[in-house]
Amino acid sequence: MHSETSQNLIAPGIHYLQGAEACAEGAMLAGCRVYAGYPITPATEIMEHFARRLPSMGGRTIQMEDEIASAGVLLGASWAGAKAMTATSSPGFSLMQEVISFGIMTETPMVVVDVQRPGPGQGYISTSQEDVMQARWGHHGEGAIIALSPASVQDMFAMTIRAFNLSERWRTPVLVMAEETVAHMRERLVIPDLDSIEIIDRKTPQDEGIAPQDYLPYGHGPVPPMAIWGQGYDVNHVSLVHHRDGRITGYNAETHFDNIDRIRRKIEDNVADISEVEARFMEDSRHFVICYGAVSRTAVEAVLEARQVHGIPVGYIRLKTLWPFPEARLRELVRDAEKIFVPEMNLGMMKHPITEALRDRCRMVAAVPSLGCLHTPEQILARIQEEAA
């Protein structure tokens, strides 16, 4: 979908960029042409990059009056046919929850980047993973969401593209749960040949040969084709529980369940397609480090040292997708474990679904917390040695 106006896309090759810039470039490559945001440390660089770059691609960047409005822009832009994104940090992420809930219910493709910082309250402007539960449960009500966890500048680029593709494929808001660490770090970024990058666009009723008079806005399958405003489909986006034809009166328990169960299962039934898990050193391991995001960078060093220097048989599992939670995949990977270590930049959050998933496979799951700063390899190694040597 690279049109004439995309001539200003980043060139393939080797670059040296900040994570924030890589995220923005990935989004633009994926086709994002509307960006709305509000300044907040440590996410502001993303908006500033979009402000400089988007006009040359025919896109528009707007700084809105608050984070609620920024997320609101994504809804309208998406319904009008554009791929749209915002980036914020933890306090702004809290503000956006109602809009995200609305996005889930209206099945709106949109990407929200949360560059996490510590909380609660103003917390601090350093790094954190304290919003990972909020990513799944912060929006009110049922429904499900997709949340990705980048660990490098390369990830900030590639996972942002993936976030757009997932949001278009599954008609859902997708979160990129970055941390200050990955947004601010500068690393080598390899941009492949642009034609090799898969870009997915939402299916419209026109794609499926459905005429306006036959169109059911919330029907035709588990992922309803999405009519775009301005194309004669008279589509109404609504977040009250609705029938498949969009009617909101005639409420009954069956309609309620039909509507809400479908949007949850749309994501949860497709974990295998959606989630990505990286696993290394699994064959002989008795213990495992399960990590995600920036912590993976130091956790892998700790695992390597534990194995190579201290002879401790510890494996490494990295959750590249936090939600939907890859319970089945984890159970495939970990048949029997003595100790599992979950280093997080919080006091123990993903530790809980991990424990629940492996409750019959593992004797002990230990949180390895670090607040406000990235673990060093030594911190994680010390815990491994303490429990597993």
Binding site: R33, P55, G58, G72, V73, A84, L216, G230, N236
Partner: protein
């Protein structure tokens, strides 16, 4: 009964595969239904007279009785969204497709919770027509006090009388920068239709407040309230004082100023000047 129905029914979804959608869910005599009627009359005229393309017309609303107008009734693209956030959503839609002709239905309550977005939308002069159905209270939730409720009035949450003063939405819109600001009431049907036509035609933010009756929470018959609206309002010439106890109606402000999209288009053009291909800025 003869099958010829109301002329504006051609713009409404009276029923769908899952069942009937009309009658409107609103209470008997509610002014919001009248505002929908006036708006559809205005749009009907524009579709016939102007180059307005029906596919480009989009209605967006928030939450509240006035926002129910888009709920599942319209044969237009629409969004029945979240309380107070319609203008942010409208902004996004324009950024994606500036050709859309957006009409926002809001109420005094919805506009108040969305006050921040209201102020900034007017300041940016985004090209939308905001039709605000002002009944001086929060109707949908049972008649609570609103920022537009008169001082001293007893409502569900001010059972001893309102200790606050209301603000003037039209003055807010004008000060914030809206290009076109006007107020009428449901008892001014033809004036309202003409003003909505002007508002939609106007490039930039058009804010049109319509004083409206809520018979249920004011415990007054619709006809009494409808007649009273005429008595309570006064059309004044610029500079003239509003007669005591009356509310001014009419056009308050009509200025030419570029909207957000046109201003930003200059930047898009400038950044694309070196390219051969035309960059229309539509996604």
């Amino acid at each position: 009964m003869n099958e010829i129905g109301h002329p504006m029914l051609k713009y409404l979804k009276t029923e769908g595969p899952s069942g009937p959608r009309l009658p409107l869910i609103l209470c008997p005599g509610c002014g919001a239904g009248q505002v929908l009627n006036y708006t559809l009359h205005a749009v009907d005229r524009l579709l016939a007279e102007d180059n307005l393309n029906k596919e480009d017309v989009v209605f967006i609303s928030g939450v509240g009785c006035s926002s129910r107008l888009t709920s599942h009734y319209l044969q237009f693209d629409s969004g029945w969204t979240i309380h107070g956030r319609s203008l942010a959503i409208a902004t996004g839609a324009l950024l994606a497709n500036p050709k859309l002709r957006i009409i926002v239905f809001t109420g005094d309550g919805d506009a108040a919770i969305g006050g921040n977005h209201f102020i900034h939308a007017c300041r940016r002069n985004i090209d939308v027509t905001i039709i605000c159905v002002n009944n001086g209270l929060y109707g949908m939730t049972g008649g609570q006090v609103a920022p537009t409720t008169d001082t001293g009035e007893k409502t569900a949450t001010t059972p001893f009388g309102n200790v606050e003063d209301p603000f003037d939405l039209c003055k807010l819109a004008e000060t914030a920068g809206a290009a076109y600001v006007a107020r009428w009431s449901t008892a001014h049907p033809r004036q309202t239709v003409k003003t909505i036509i002007k508002g939609i035609r106007k490039k930039g933010t058009a804010f049109i407040e319509i004083l409206s009756q809520c018979p249920v929470h004011k415990k007054t018959a619709p006809v009494e309230m409808f007649k009273a609206l005429r008595r309570l309002t006064a059309r004044v010439k610029e500079g003239a004082a509003v007669p005591d106890g009356r509310i001014a109606v009419g056009e308050f402000c009509n200025r030419d100023k570029p909207d957000w999209i046109s201003r930003y288009q200059d930047i898009i053009d400038q950044e694309n000047r070196h390219k051969d291909t035309e960059c229309t800025g539509s996604i």
